[in-house]
Assembly symmetry: C2
Homo-oligomer: 531 residues x 2
Amino acid sequence: MAAWAELDVLARSPYDLTAPGALSPARIHGYTAHAAGIDLLYATQRVDDAALCALQRLAEESGAIPQFLLMKKGAVLNRIEGYASEERQVLHTACRDIFAPVTPAPEASAQAKAELDKLADFLAALDSGAIVNAAGEPFTDLIQIGIGGSDLGPRALYLALAAYRIAGRRVHFVSNVDPDDAAATLAGLDLARTLVNVVSKSGSTLETMTNEELARKAFAEAGLEPSRHFLAVTGKGSPMDNPARYLRSFYMFDSIGGRYSATSMVGAVMLGFGLGYPQLMEILRGAHAMDLAAEEPDILRNPPLLLALLGIWNHNFLGCETLAILPYSQALVRFTAHLQQCDMESNGKSVTRQGKPLAWKSGPIIWGEPGTNGQHAFYQLIHQGTAIVPAEFIGFRRSQHGRDLLIEQTTSQEKLVANLLAQALALATGQPHENPNRRFAGNRPSAVLLADRLTPYTMGALLALYEAKVVFQGFIWNINSFDQEGVQLGKKLAVRLLAHYAGLRQNPGYSGEATDVLGWALLSAAGMLAE
Amino acid sequence: MAAWAELDVLARSPYDLTAPGALSPARIHGYTAHAAGIDLLYATQRVDDAALCALQRLAEESGAIPQFLLMKKGAVLNRIEGYASEERQVLHTACRDIFAPVTPAPEASAQAKAELDKLADFLAALDSGAIVNAAGEPFTDLIQIGIGGSDLGPRALYLALAAYRIAGRRVHFVSNVDPDDAAATLAGLDLARTLVNVVSKSGSTLETMTNEELARKAFAEAGLEPSRHFLAVTGKGSPMDNPARYLRSFYMFDSIGGRYSATSMVGAVMLGFGLGYPQLMEILRGAHAMDLAAEEPDILRNPPLLLALLGIWNHNFLGCETLAILPYSQALVRFTAHLQQCDMESNGKSVTRQGKPLAWKSGPIIWGEPGTNGQHAFYQLIHQGTAIVPAEFIGFRRSQHGRDLLIEQTTSQEKLVANLLAQALALATGQPHENPNRRFAGNRPSAVLLADRLTPYTMGALLALYEAKVVFQGFIWNINSFDQEGVQLGKKLAVRLLAHYAGLRQNPGYSGEATDVLGWALLSAAGMLAE
């Protein structure tokens, strides 16, 4: 692509944020973009108008927007040309297109709407007392059992919006196959008043099936009938698609990948229980507004596309291997972990959509923790380390709880936002000093995402912004962002190792040495064969 | 250093783990090291005996062991020669040397012992009912208010060992200046039966002071006298060193940096309350055992030093910018976050201990999440992405709760360990395939740390292992791992921005435009000046 070559040249002398006057009020005010209640401030990136023009051309040459529109209409984008691959549509946006006057993928939106209607009925029955436990009491708690996309996105959304929870209702999560995870959660609850929402598209995910069995056993031991407490979210025809075992069953579809499924039934059942149906609709509305904004071809008016391009500039042209996502909000404590999955599982790839080896770097490593906590932890390296870490800060002008205190004439929320902005400024400008240990080189790029308040609507918009960003980057890198073949080999080898345990349990004289020399040696060196 | 040049040559053809026979049972059994109940398996690193010999020489040429011994004796290692710097001893090991027959730093160990004795008395008084609330009831909950080192390490230890907690006692943490953090925690507790442990060495940490004020206000509003509930852990002579305001005060000392302070009073008061004094002693005993093992000059018999050197091999010679630390244990859910601080704040530096610019890379970016969860999230990139991510896996042969279930002839704990080992194997060997999207290149290095069970002793040993690893790497890179000048600039700019809020609050006509053109523009562009 011509734009790629042009960016290569521009990257030899990227914009110097430490030069006198480089960061001016005009630049700070001008380098902003807005959509769905979210402001993107990018004056502290190492770009000027020439670089932005080249990035605009990169977006155009790669067909990012036309592909995004095709995706929303149901094109089969989850594929590798000429090789066996998933061959699926990519329609997470259809869950939100239910609000559009004309829906781009009518069948998928109709499926989504039908499941939402089932959910609305179920939630109304919980509210009215039509569905209660065996003792006639309402349910107060829900445990979501799922892993990966069935855990991280839903959990991130619930924690973000716990301030909006229905009084007396709480949600818990069990994901890890670690038996201590389930044990600790089950031990703390009144199971008689607890629902369990089991989420697995295949209905055969090792961790989820194991934890479901652990939970069913705990319910049975407590004298409770699991089919009065357990809900299923699964694919049609999966081993879990068995309504006799569940109080209610909801469907998920092949066109929505796990890491993009938070606004499908994967997140909706739990969010509907915890926050109520109207708040769930607000999340979807916010996401829909951002999905629409992402269709804008002018990158300066399209925050997800602009953020995607700035990411490519930092990663492919300025050589930064990672991206820190740093929310200045304790409620977003698990949002970075969700984005870590959404981004790295989508774009951690090495072949093109034509099955050729990639000649450029694909997705960066995503990491981060909430601020201001991180400032007291790893920011030392971001400011003075030998690696350059681009940062994306996320903040809110007002707090959720509204419970705040004026200390030395400023509120805690003001302290939070002041710290966020101060970091962006410090990273960009740096500081000369006669003591070399107190020098800051500056020119460390960052972007700031700001919204008024972390509401369900804003959370939906923020989620959709990052989903679109990841998808745009995949289009530009020409990779399939929607499969995950890289998780298969480890799974396969784990099954082989587990067969040795099972073999030993059935026959103490069993040996796997002949059939699996390395696996057997590893189990032995790990001390796992000595009982 | 000669060894450095030698390693540079060796790194041109690092050991190829994908070659036939490269990974043999003999290598898997031979490439192991052991200390304090922890096994290190490193057959899946890209090293052979020649590389290990060169790493041994690197350790010797850099004086890693003699410097470690000097550190434990109280040498002033927290300094930059010829420039203003902290000029402090580094004596976190002295907290554990209380068990040594001859203590290398007698004064620091005596201080640690004196504080532990005060703590033992206090805990005994809680147990006996000599200290109760105004209504004569025992305390059931404790909130730790602290940030950075006063939060991450203590929190990681408490969560790791919650299975060992005293029945009826719970610990909570408030760290972020985000007012929602404190509000959510305070709202869920019976304050009348709650202690608050405020931890700040300087007694002036913005976040901690703010949260203490929020908490004191909540207690006062509930009609409770804060001085009957609040504990202090602070430096002698700090603004918080005022016993009249606190039920009990404990001291922390300048010779222990925040990120190394988990086994000082910073963690001990909370752990003593939650787990009891005997379990606290077990943590210290495990740490002490590893501190002793770290003195061993033969790198093959010194797990922390070997892990430090393998890290340098991957980072400086094989060019890997990050390190993923992946515990296969839900209880270690925050351990990686603690290590992220301990490592990145220590070694994210750009000048030598002589104040010269570094000519080599210092500390890597540390990140990670517990397995198996991560497998369903970001492992795609680790297996098939364009970046190479070295991994350190941590696992345990037996679970903590012991509540497990046999499904398809294997327990959950067996599934957990089988997955861990399978990942190490898959990353090392890779897999050829006719479908390019199902190929795994292999040669992705990892190490495995295994212990029998996550007990207080093992947790102490694991903590000390990583502390020593970080310290050794700093010695070899010739940097000061014990200061954190890089956090100052952001703090300074935040104070400047906050002055604008305060100015506006006192005088609506206030403008910061003339005195702070960029800060004022940033506040304005962020929409923070419109009330």
